[in-house]
């Protein structure tokens, strides 16, 4: 059961990574990227690393997304 | 002061100095430059004491937090770490050179952050060469790379930002490679201390160990700009501010090579793999780099672009010396790391002084500059002679040793490549010197230009003098690194 | 005592099933609904009703204790943050000029008038 959960999460992770590359809309890519961080956070927690999970949630899903959004609002939204 | 405290101080003092620069610099940033200079002078003094110590008693360590390795982090100062002194010297001179540059070219808000980044970059390199812990190595590599990217872009021009972006992408990939390799080594040995890894790697699985050294090599070769991975270098080094170019070309590129030496220390010591295949690849790539870098440099109009290509060529020499894995070759390579730093800094700072005064970067525009800026051009000429490898200068002995190493390793073919490369280099430096002295100026105002300001002239002249002195006293560094190279190659039975 | 436990367990199962059902509906809505507003609406349902009832079910399973307190705090946070997020999204979309979707027949009718 736990193994199946792990594998599902890892597959989701890969899917997210591919989706980030494929998305042309940068805003969408940022949203998917924060989803990636969230899944990563779950994996850390599940592997028994709550400290890292917490960092991932706060930095990966929180602060970096905000920074990306500012950067996008300063530049262009669509990838050329 | 015990040596271990000095060893910590040589990292911590510039680090805290860097961190405090924005606070000390004030709103105008005017105090930032002198502050950075003072910090680097103190650091240089410590570095000198360390070198005297290592020459007397041999390699020594400091344990951080009092935890003995492998539980804590170990700093280890050996003969290769003596490049700290070059880092401090070039750092001090580049900061001095930056005074006028920053005043003229940078928006006042950026000045104090410019010096912060310079100091952080130097700190990263010092930490990189003295640490004995492989993850600590990565941390310092991050500091020096991050600050390097920003320093390339600091002038705020569009081209500079593009060059920095290219550098950033390549650098991020290389950092990732190195991190991946560190992870592999940790999975194999359960340790992060270099000496400990070397012991424990002996019984490890071969395939992951091979993958780890491959990843290390690719990662460090991007940093060192070896032939197929050099594409970021010409833009980044040519467009960066001149003092930054001197540091990037003279030192940052060398950290990749020193990292390679560290990895060789681990692997040769463990004797887990036969590295001769990797060495062959490195020698060939080095030879291609030598010829290719020198060849492209001939066609460059932009003086700094030419110097940047010549860096690729010289990295080729060093890699070739390392890859030959013979006593002479490695000694020559290790000392060329040091000498090329001096020479390339002379050239970049000299070119920077000319660009500062005239505003021109192309050789055609700079015709006749030798008449109005005699001292600067004289220094550049000395640098040019050294880099070609003329006998009385710093470049000669190293290249001679590397060529000897090729013969010693039974591959005299590569000595031919080396001579061939030197010929190309000769062609373009002669072209440069010819432009400076013997051609009629395109722009008449070139003849009216004043000699470079003292804070720029002084570093350039000091470095040029060192190029000559190192040529005459060249045996000293050679015999200094010899015990370290002997220790490195001992497991090979050579 | 056994009967109480059994009832509680049954309630938990029912609540969790309701939650799962709402999540399912919400996901289907996300995929099938025609425009931004209706999809936001569907997604917000997942968070509030779906997650809310699952958390309620878990509380019943745990009984009184530190964990239940945490679950209550979690529910409160969820009930506050999720509608707010939905509101902010919809409002931003509306303010920047995204028109709500109309069914084709409806639009035709409008055109006729």
């Amino acid at each position: 059961m736990s193994r199946a959960f792990d594998i599902t999460l890892l597959l989701l992770l890969i899917a997210c990574a591919l989706a980030v590359i494929q998305t042309k809309d940068l805003l969408g890519a940022v949203v998917i990227f924060s989803t990636y961080s969230l899944i990563m956070c779950l994996i850390w927690q599940h592997r028994g690393a709550p400290d890292v999970a917490m960092t991932e949630a706060a930095v990966g899903a929180g602060v970096t997304s905000a920074l990306f959004l500012v950067a996008i609002s300063k530049t262009v939204r669509k990838e050329k | 002061m015990p040596a271990s405290a000095l060893l910590v101080g040589v990292i911590i003092i510039p680090l805290v100095g860097a961190v405090l620069t924005p606070v000390v610099g004030g709103r105008s940033g005017r105090a930032a430059g002198p502050w950075a200079l003072a910090v680097m002078l103190v650091t240089s003094a410590i570095a000198l004491m360390l070198i005297v110590h290592v020459a007397n008693v041999g390699p020594f360590s400091a344990y951080l937090g009092g935890w003995e390795p492998p539980y804590g982090i170990e700093l280890r100062f050996d003969e290769f770490s003596a490049s700290t002194s070059v880092i401090c010297l070039l750092g001090t001179l580049s900061i001095l050179f930056s005074f006028k540059y920053a005043e003229k070219e940078l928006p006042p808000e950026r000045i104090r952050y410019y010096y912060t980044l310079l100091l952080l970059n130097l700190t990263g390199m010092i930490g990189f060469v003295v640490t004995g812990d492989i993850f600590n190595l990565f941390v310092f590599m991050e500091i020096l790379s991050l600050s390097g990217y920003a320093l390339v872009a600091v002038s705020g021009e569009r081209t500079a930002e593009m060059a920095a972006f290219k550098y950033l992408i390549m650098g991020a990939v290389s950092s990732l490679m190195v991190l991946f390799a560190i992870g592999l080594l940790y999975a194999l040995t359960g340790s992060l201390n270099m000496a400990d890894i070397s012991v424990r790697l002996a019984g490890a699985e071969k395939a992951p160990a091979m993958l780890a050294i491959a990843a290390f090599t690719v990662g460090f070769m991007v940093k060192a700009a070896l032939f197929p991975l050099h594409i970021w270098l010409p833009d980044a080094h040519a467009i960066a501010p001149s003092p930054v170019s001197a540091i990037l070309s003279g030192l940052v590129v060398k950290t990749g090579l020193l990292g390679m030496i560290r990895i060789y220390q681990i692997y040769y010591g463990a004797k887990v793999l036969d590295l001769s295949a990797l060495n062959t690849v490195l020698v060939w790539l080095g030879a291609i780099s030598i010829v290719m870098g020198a060849f492209f440099a001939i066609f460059q109009e932009d003086i700094k672009m030419m110097l940047a290509y010549s860096t690729i060529s010289n990295v080729g020499y060093i890699i070739m010396g390392l890859g030959l894995a013979s006593q002479y070759g490695v000694i020559g390579a290790a000392v060329h790391i040091f000498n090329h730093a001096l020479i390339k800094a002379t050239l970049f700072l000299g070119a920077g002084a000319i660009i500062y005064r005239t505003g021109y970067r192309n050789l055609t525009d700079l015709r006749g500059i030798g008449r109005s800026m005699p001292l600067t051009t004289a220094a550049i000429s000395i640098g040019a002679i050294s880099i070609v490898g003329m006998p009385p200068t710093a470049g000669f002995l190293c290249k001679w040793y590397i060529a000897l190493g090729a013969v010693e390793a039974g591959q005299p073919l590569f000595a031919v490549a080396l001579v061939f490369g030197a010929l190309f280099i000769f062609v373009y430096y002669i072209r440069m010197v010819n432009t400076f002295y013997f051609q009629e100026p395109v722009h008449p105002e070139i003849l009216e230009v004043e000699e470079a300001p003292l804070s720029m002239l002084f570093p350039v002249l000091i470095l040029a003098a060192l190029c000559l002195i190192m040529g005459i006293l060249g045996r000293i560094p050679l015999s200094f690194v010899e015990p370290a190279v002997t220790r490195l190659l001992a497991p090979l039975g050579g | 005592m056994n009967a109480v436990e059994a009832i509680l367990r049954a309630l938990t199962v029912i609540l969790c099933a309701i939650g799962a059902f709402y999540f399912f509906i919400g996901t289907v809505g996300m995929l099938r609904l025609p425009d931004f507003y209706s999809r936001t609406h569907a997604a917000t349902k997942c968070d509030t009703v779906g997650a809310g009832s699952i958390l309620l079910g878990l509380m019943l399973m745990q009984g009184f204790g530190a964990i239940t307190l945490k679950l209550i705090a979690l529910t409160a946070l969820l009930l506050l943050s999720s509608p707010t997020a939905g509101h902010a999204l919809a409002r931003a979309a509306f303010r920047t000029g995204l028109k709500p979707w109309r069914s084709p027949e409806h639009t035709e009718g409008e055109d006729a008038t």
């Binding site: - | 910590v8 680090l15 961190v19 935890w67 804590g72 006042p108 952080l120 930490g127 500091i143 699985e205 | -």
Partner: protein, 240 residues
Amino acid sequence: MKRALTVALLVVVAIPLLYAVAQLPQHGSPMTPPYTHISPRYLEKGPEEAGAENIVTDVILNYRGFDTNGEVTVIFTSLAAVCAVLLGSRKGDERPAGEPSSSAVPVSDVVSFVVRLLSPLIAIFAVYVMLFGHISPGGGFQSGAILAALVIVTTVIVGRKQAEALVPVRIRRLLQVAAPLTFFVVGVSGLFLFGDYLAYPKTEGQMWLATAWLIVIGIGIGVGGAAVLASIFWTMGDDS
């Protein structure tokens, strides 16, 4: 064509990678070197000799404290990089036409109210994470990130001017260097008191002092990290 080449290259790179990784010691097995070499010492002796119940904190702040010292410097470097690249006048700053600078949507009252309601709770949580890093999961980095997120949300709600007014520039500049400076102060006092940089007291009776120092470093990292991240956000959002 290009796509096919990319895929082919990926496959060529992936095969040796997979082969080598398959040769690694079984991941997660208790017999592998990472579990048998250094970790047992950390796990067995950490709480008594390093001063924190949370082993992770022991490792990152005590055994390998110098790495963390380097890492906080990396964070500070990123701030210096952002400032060096973005501050000051930019020659030829061009924004593509037709791209609105920022949507002029005023902040909703509902959102504003909820954020105001929640922000004290977030602050309390961040402080809790900061102060109890030596017992429970968490510590300086995490609380710094949470605090920074709080500052960013507040900036969005009340506007940048008002948010920045809470922390005057002079103080902010000191806060930004708080993390490396704390390390420096603790490290140097360790050098003078116990003979090594970043050394903590190791004897039985003085463990409370080691714990106290871990907390001090945690506070330093938390405050410094939050200041750096918030400053990066403000610098990037600069409309000059």
